[in-house]
């Protein structure tokens, strides 16, 4: 397998994993926007985390920002898989920011809220997987990028 092909496969995997993250974040966004997280009885695992003050920035649920970030990762990974090498330059800072945000939210769940939301943990796992896959992508050769 050539390096270029391996790189393409990794970007495709990143795009597929990002779709899973997008689905998870969309579900959490809908829960937050529908008001389900301000109640008990809907999702007992998540209300404490998603109903907390840490789950919003102003009036915007962080899950919605997460959904947007996953969509960006999906889009740039798709373009990278199709040979748009410049897409990687966008992909790396976005995934880096997501990685740091994930560390913060894990800290909030473990030490501030003492409660875990399984959908948030799934999102954390997906972000770590994407970060790992991106690290595994071989650096591109110097050539004219599209």
């Amino acid at each position: 397998m050539t390096v270029s092909r391996f790189r393409t496969i990794l970007y495709i995997v990143v795009a597929i994993v990002a779709v899973a993250g997008l689905a998870d974040a969309t579900f959490l966004s809908v829960q937050a926007l529908s008001g389900e997280t301000t109640s008990c009885g809907g999702s007992p695992d998540c209300f404490r985390v998603l109903g907390s003050s840490y789950a919003k920035i102003g009036r915007v649920p962080v899950a919605l920002l997460g959904a947007f970030a996953y969509f960006c990762v999906f889009a740039f990974a798709t373009f990278a898989a199709f040979g748009y090498a410049r897409a990687r330059t966008f992909l790396i800072p976005i995934v880096g920011a997501m990685f740091l945000a994930t560390l913060w939210f894990l800290y909030v769940q473990a030490f501030l809220l003492h409660a875990y939301c399984r959908y948030c943990l799934l999102s954390a796992a997906i972000t770590f997987l994407i970060a790992g896959l991106l690290i595994a992508v071989p650096p591109s050769e110097r050539r004219s990028d599209r």
Partner: protein
């Protein structure tokens, strides 16, 4: 064609995400929306509220179906205090029990509140239960804690103990629970303002105030 393929894929996923998110929102929204009290014919059981805070003749009634072990209910209880001060004689708050099965000690906490109510101290126990929610929610033996709270608020603890096991307290809770179920309530806190359910997305200070103001102005809620 290959040139446009990534654009088509990205646009397709964006539309798919937006569409499925919108559908899920509609489903969740309809699930969370309880029936208006006025149209729930089967909700007549327990229609006379037992626990009223504020002016009993107030023009606006805020009815809460709550669970003492539910953290959002605890937050609402603190906010309800503010509302009573803010609206003074124009608002009364009614509490009804809806202890959820997912909360291990919720029913016992309701029994404690009702037992305190039999000695005329329902709201004092209500305040203590919500204030100390984080403590007793994780305690292995909540009875001991509830009895200590009963002593703190000046109840006859022996009587309190008997009342917690008595039929009267159980009957009150069962009556509220049956009423909640007949209204299609599934989550706590579920709020009604003058018999109209408050939308789940309005269960925040701004939303509650807007609904109370609308009720005071005589406008039907959206």
């Amino acid at each position: 064609m290959k040139r446009y393929l990534p654009f088509l894929i990205v646009i397709g996923v964006a539309l798919g995400t937006f569409g499925s998110g919108a559908m899920l929102y509609r489903v969740k929204h309809s699930q969370l929306q309880a029936k208006p009290e006025a149209t729930a014919l089967s909700a007549n059981s327990g229609s006379e509220p037992t626990h009223i805070r504020g002016n009993p003749e107030a023009p606006v009634t805020l009815e809460e179906y709550g669970d003492f072990q539910c953290p959002p209910c605890g937050s609402f209880a603190a906010f309800a205090e503010e509302l009573l001060k803010e609206y003074d004689s124009r608002l009364r708050i009614v509490f009804r029990h809806f202890p959820l099965a997912v909360h291990e000690h919720a029913r016992e906490a309701s029994l404690a509140a009702e037992a305190a109510g039999l000695q005329g101290r329902f709201w004092e126990m209500y305040d203590v239960l919500y204030r100390e929610q984080a403590t007793w929610s994780k305690a292995p033996n909540v009875r001991e804690l509830f009895e200590s709270y009963a002593g703190t608020i000046g109840l006859n603890v022996d009587q309190f103990r008997k009342d917690m096991d008595g039929e009267q307290a159980k009957a009150r809770i069962d009556s509220d629970f049956a009423r909640a179920e007949s209204l299609g309530i599934k989550v706590t806190p579920s709020l009604y303002i003058n018999g109209q359910p408050l939308d789940a997305k309005d269960k925040n200070p701004e939303g509650v105030r807007a609904a109370i103001n609308a009720a005071l102005a005589g406008k039907p809620q959206a």
